[in-house]
């Protein structure tokens, strides 16, 4: 059984929830787009149900709620330091199936990789509850079905928007009491079963093929096309890379703060080591690294799934119209070509 809420009723619910929860959802920022008179949709706190953007994919992903682009992790003076504080309220995040699946990968990297749980991630993540935004149509840049990220059961509540307002189902007993008293209406959440774009997910059979793929001419086009701006990785719902930067307070060089700031493997200098050595010096190198990471390396390391969830934000945000799914298809073709040549 679900609950039917009109927008005013949903606003009232949001108001009541705010004692215990901060509500985050895709929100419209008018005229803050990359180009003049274009808007942007990104995650931010919402107070009213109507602020939630449904008819457009958010330009940036929900990961920013848990791991913001810039985050102070601790403050220091001479020989002391103090961890930054974080809120006490729970976070209710409105997001789609692909985004929830993306959090699985975020969790894997921040909480499991290397056997150490990242406290700065965990202290926020523990307070997160998902509200699944039903998504049955998608957009032209979506390919979640191909990546197997179109479904999920990991949510406290699910919500559908229709002409009569919002329809919720609330499987989480912690959240359910807040909905009691609203009109009941049957609701079973649906998932998208087909995207406009289908991706052939390639399997790389062995290391020899992988090494040949790395040298394949298919990557060369990105030296002309990719400008290494990093828009794809900032928007990506699964990218987790960050760097640390110390901010020393100008007036007192003995005090300051350490920050975590999002980093991008696509930006030149990302892999620059002490002594100046870099592994990937061209746009093609960096692109190859990203694509293989998302649809090969991650799975090779962790097993179950590819890292990419097919949210398509990388393609949608790319100022040079480089399509990630089209690139995966090109890679699949290249692998076939390599394998066929080996057989001969």
């Amino acid at each position: 059984m679900g609950y039917r809420l009109s927008y005013p009723e949903a606003d009232e619910l949001f108001r009541k929830l705010s004692a215990e929860y901060e509500i985050y959802a895709p929100k419209l920022f008018e005229k803050q787009g990359r180009y003049s008179d274009t808007d942007i949709v990104r995650y931010d706190r919402v107070k009213r149900a109507e602020e939630i953007v449904w008819d457009r994919k958010s330009d940036f992903s929900a990961k920013e709620v848990v791991s913001p682009i810039t985050q102070t992790i601790f403050y220091f003076t001479e020989d002391e330091y103090r961890e930054s504080r974080t809120g006490a309220k729970k976070l209710l995040i409105f997001l789609r199936p692909c985004d929830i699946n993306a959090f699985e990968h975020q969790d894997k990297i921040y909480l499991e990789n290397g056997g150490i749980a990242d406290v700065f991630y965990q202290r926020v993540r523990d307070r997160v509850r998902f509200v699944l935004m039903e998504c049955t149509e998608g957009w032209d840049t979506c390919f979640c079905v191909s990546m197997g990220a179109n479904r999920t059961n990991d949510y406290s509540a699910a919500v559908r928007r229709d002409e009569n307002g919002l329809l919720f189902s609330v499987p989480d007993p912690e959240l359910a009491p807040h909905f009691a008293g609203n009109r009941e209406e049957p609701f079973e959440v649906r998932f998208i079963e087909q995207n406009d774009f289908t991706v052939e997910i390639p399997e790389i059979p062995n290391k020899d093929v992988l090494n040949k793929l790395k040298k394949h001419p298919m990557w060369q086009e990105f030296n002309d096309r990719c400008i290494s701006c990093g828009s794809c990785t900032v928007a990506c719902s699964t990218c987790t890379c960050f760097t640390t930067v110390d901010k020393i307070y100008d007036e007192n060089a003995h005090a300051g703060e350490r920050r975590r700031v999002a980093a991008s493997c696509q930006v030149a200098g990302f892999d620059c080591m002490a002594g100046g050595h870099e592994f990937r010096t061209t746009a093609a190198d960096r692109m190859r690294y990203r694509v293989l990471h998302k649809v090969h390396d991650y799975k090779a390391r962790f097993g179950d799934f590819h890292m990419c969830v097919g949210c398509g934000r990388c393609s949608a945000r790319c100022p040079k119209f480089i399509s990630f799914p089209a690139t995966i298809n090109k890679m699949a073709a290249a692998i076939k070509e390599i394998v066929a040549a080996e057989r001969q």
Partner: protein, 344 residues
């Protein structure tokens, strides 16, 4: 061929004398350089029915019909009444008669680059602005050359017009969204004035004095850390001109003015011209009128009744650099100096 043609009268009807006796060229205004493509059929019809079959793209973005016979002028004037009605009266809200061709010389069309309906660099909708400016300057026997550019690239070559209007943006830096990649620093250095630099903590510092408001930083930022303020701002260049005697590039008269301010200023041009020419319209470059009155008088009259927005700045004085095709062309007997204002 015995002809008795009042050239001046025809000129004021927007017909330009040809070197071929008895032939004239029509110059049709396209305010803002964009109209519905359906009008092209009309222009083609005029060219092929009454013209010599050719079509010329006017140097000020007019639609030119060369080779029309003197005796066909009334027929063409009759035929273009619909065009005038739709383009001048309906599209631009111009108040004018349309049944006898153009009521005055129309060749000083308000030109505009494509603007932000298409261009990724433009900062405003140039067509919209052109359509608001058109009724302020047309039809009038005091002519003005105006060109609108969407950004400081000035593809509209406002630098060589009486008034060059350049769209600029006040940028907002979202410190917490910045990943410190340096794309904006590079873009600003390469395409603009190089006012951006890294701070010690890998964020961006800006020398606001010299920012030209192009918005390149927002265009290249992968994280949406630079956005444009929703209010549109303009730089107004004055006094630019081509010509045989002393061509020169326009200089900044106003910077960071809003649309309201701009429209009021341009609305003052008629009064200024009438005063300079003592109500005797002459077909002269606006820059010469400014020269005759002197910049201080120009500034005083153009700013009459204008309430400047808080961000606005005004040139205290202007030092044009002219290309003098004859040395000391300006150094002439005092009695030969052009006079501005009331004649005895």
């Amino acid at each position: 061929m015995n002809q008795d043609i009042n050239i001046k009268k025809l000129q004021k009807n927007c017909w330009r004398q040809s070197k071929v006796p008895g032939e004239f060229m029509l110059q049709m205004r396209v305010p803002g350089s964009m109209i519905s493509a359906k009008h092209l059929e009309r222009v083609q019809y005029i060219c092929q029915t009454w013209g010599n079959g050719n079509f010329h793209v006017g140097m000020r973005h007019t639609l030119n019909v060369p080779g029309v016979k003197y005796e066909d002028i009334p027929a063409v004037n009759d035929y273009i009444s619909e065009y005038l009605e739709e383009v001048e009266c309906d599209m631009c809200d111009v108040d004018m008669e349309t049944d006898a061709g153009y009521p005055t010389i129309g060749s000083r069309n308000i030109m505009a680059c494509i603007g932000n309906t298409h261009c990724i660099l433009a900062n405003y909708n140039t067509q919209d602005l052109a359509r608001k400016l058109e009724p302020l300057v047309f039809p009038s026997h005091y002519h003005i050359k105006m060109s609108l550019s969407g950004c400081p690239n000035d593809c509209g070559k406002g630098h060589f017009n009486d008034f060059g209007i350049v769209g600029i943006s006040k940028m907002v830096y979202h410190y917490e969204r910045c990943i410190g990649c340096g794309m904006c620093i590079d873009a600003c250095k390469k395409h603009a004035t190089g006012v951006l630099s890294f701070t010690e903590d890998k964020k961006i510092a800006k020398d606001t004095c010299c920012c030209v408001g192009c918005g390149e930083c927002a265009t290249v930022c992968p994280a949406g850390a630079w956005t444009r303020r929703p209010t549109k701002f303009f730089r107004v260049l004055v006094g630019g001109r081509t010509g045989k005697q002393s061509p020169r590039m326009g200089k900044t008269f106003l910077n960071w003015v809003t649309e309201d301010v701009l429209l009021t200023v341009i609305g003052n041009w008629q009064k200024f011209s009438a005063w300079v020419l003592d109500h005797q319209p002459v077909y002269m470059h606006g820059g010469h009128l400014i020269d005759m009155a002197g910049y201080d008088k120009f500034k005083e009259m153009m700013l009459e009744g204008v309430t400047l927005n808080p961000e606005a700045t005004v040139a205290q004085r202007i030092l044009w650099t002219e290309t003098e095709y004859r040395a000391q062309i300006n150094v002439i007997p005092l009695s030969e100096h052009p006079k501005a204002g009331p004649r005895k």
